[in-house]
Amino acid sequence: MTTPTSAAPSRPLSPHLGIYRWQWTMALSILHRATGIVLAAGTVLLVYWLWSAAGGPESHARAQALIAGWFGRLCLFGWTVALFYHLFNGIRHLAWDAGKGFELRTAYVSGMAVVAATITASVLAWVIGYMVK
């Protein structure tokens, strides 16, 4: 780690992942960041998909074929899970911003609700997706 030029060389800098004991709420908090990064990376795929569609039927078909392959599907499934998790947990964060749900028990229960909703919505989206297709 490089030392900042200002006079505070050994000031502890935020988040030191190594010092926390793993527990439910902090794991979900880290997962919010992780899914955010995954989604940010996934935007490249989204833009590629739109760009290909704008290029006409041939380039659109090429992009669709790439996404429909096993690797494309795997990425897309991961992206679906990340999107739903970030969406539901984001709503949980907005509730915290409004000053609600800070009690330990509530935080645990809302965390479990987020995970349950993520699994349900992801599976549902893919089941319906395979049904309409």
Binding site: I37, T43, V44, V47, A54, G129, V132
Partner: protein, 126 residues
């Protein structure tokens, strides 16, 4: 030494006179993305297995085109704000931190631009 009280020095001044702007924009875009993301997932699922003509017809609908552009704008604004905080937390070298933030913000602008132009090309194309 200064004779001003600590409170007097900071009152009315954020670090750059916009202390909570980053935080507030992150929340506003989050709020906007709740309905936009749900609409997008539902639309994409409904479009599965359809050809280019069906896809283009969907984008040509003025409501879809507007929502797509809003989705792209909100997504990239939200994403670059979020990734910026992650970089500020984990990249401690000042030079590397600045470079990474500039890179992320630049990439977000470029990708958002390409995305919006793509939507407009389909929406107004033949």
């Amino acid at each position: 030494m200064s004779y001003r009280s600590p409170l007097g020095k900071v009152r009315g001044l954020g670090s750059a006179k916009d202390g909570t702007h980053h935080w507030w924009m992150q929340r506003l875009t989050a709020l906007a993305l709740i309905p936009l993301a749900i609409w997008f997932v539902v639309s994409v699922v409904a479009l599965l297995g359809q050809n280019h003509a069906a896809f283009a017809a969907w984008v040509k609908n003025p409501l879809s085109a507007t929502l797509l552009i809003l989705l792209i704008a909100a997504t990239f604004h939200h994403a670059q704000l979020g990734v910026q905080v992650v970089i500020e937390d984990y990249v401690h070298g000042e030079g590397a931190k600045l470079a990474a933030i500039i890179l992320v913000k630049g990439a977000a602008l470029v990708l958002a631009g390409i995305g919006i132009v793509s939507v407009l090309r389909i929406a107004f194309g033949g």
